[in-house]
Amino acid sequence: MTCTEYQFWIESQTDLSSAEQRDLERHLAVCADCRRVAQTMQSYEIGIKALQQITLTETDENAVEAIIGAAKMTSRLRPVKQRMWVEQLVNMITEPVFRFATAALIVLTLGLFGFQEVYTVHQLNQLAESMAQRGRSMHVQTKYFWEDMKWRSKVEHWSSGTQGATIISSHFLWPELYQRLTALPQFAKPLAWRIRLGNTSSAGLEKIWYRLQR
């Protein structure tokens, strides 16, 4: 056998018969090159063990919930509704009674129009502007958006906005995020948003899923 063949055995970690193992050991005793290969493969094993320490991770509950949410979201996609829904939603949210509305009431009311309302990004922009014109803050929390058919979860902090401002999160204002969206090369692809709508910064507002498309 040639050194190439012996080194193939070594690198492949082939299961050798007893005779083959003895043959290899005899060769290693006299061949420095093949010994070097064998020693390197021992180092390889050390490195592999270290890499394997990036091991099976423990179950991440947050990740599990994100997955379930994503599964729900993609099961509920609906076509774009008429523009009238935007105005109805704005009117409803800005009614004084909803200033003190409970989360349950909001959920029930919006439920009449369906959780799966679909708005274009431009309509959401209009919604935000309409809210601002009424002196209300539209509180929006981004949770997911679907870019290029891949989910990217960005957990943003819920934050209250100043009067007339529309806050997406502690990181984005709606106009800035809107510009980012329109600049996306894959903007033609459907975008899915999970947002909270309301006229207060109450933490009791229910999360509502919306699918947005251009």
Binding site: Y44, I46, D60, V64, A71, S75, S153
Partner: protein, 190 residues
């Protein structure tokens, strides 16, 4: 420590899948709970950084949810899930090549390795292996992760990647040969 999926498939898994096929999200949550850790570990071994791994795992389970009706109960759910993950990882890795993305996406794993490794030498060897592995042809990368890091059998790797067992052996040999040469040339500075 086992590197394979920790959840042996049994009749309970198949029962769970049957319930999921009826659209039961609670059952699907249970399924995700059982496999999310293993899926995350594999995805991270493929792509290195946590963010891409999380994206891959999310997308993989969404695809599982939408295609459960097609699941063949004569096949392994683990292999099916791993196949989806491997395909998604392939896309990520291919995109990185096009974008000339550097190996630094593996950077967030270095601290983890440091905590566990006993020696700097082990860390250096590990990073050299990872450095070289990330520059292998994509098929070799996938085989390397599934066979050497995940410790799946040749038959399982072949099934997951939908290639012949001989192709697995050939790709694995090429991968190990390239990595071995890199180790002999010396590691990179990280």
């Amino acid at each position: 420590m086992a590197n394979r999926s920790t959840q042996p498939e049994n009749i309970d898994t198949h029962d769970l899948i049957r319930i999921c096929q009826e659209g039961d999200l609670a059952a699907f949550r249970e399924l995700v709970l059982q496999y999310q850790g293993a899926a995350q570990g594999l995805a991270r071994r493929f792509v290195g950084n946590l963010e891409d791994a999380e994206d891959i795992v999310q997308e993989a389970f969404v695809r599982v949810w939408h295609h459960l009706a097609r699941f063949d109960f004569n096949k392994s759910f683990t292999n099916w899930l791993f196949r989806i993950i491997a395909n998604l990882a392939y896309d990520v890795l291919r995109k990185r090549i096009k974008q000339n993305a550097s190996i630094t996406k593996w950077g967030d794993s270095i601290d983890f390795i440091t905590q566990e490794s006993n020696t700097d030498e082990a860390l250096q060897i590990a990073m050299t292996i990872r450095y070289k592995a990330a520059r292998l042809p994509l098929k070799q990368q996938l085989v390397f992760v599934l066979r050497d890091l995940q410790e799946l059998s040749v038959a399982e790797v072949a099934n997951i990647l939908q290639i012949s067992e001989n192709a697995v052996k050939v790709n694995l040999h090429h991968a190990r040969h390239a990595i071995r040469l890199q180790l002999e040339q010396g590691g990179e500075e990280f």
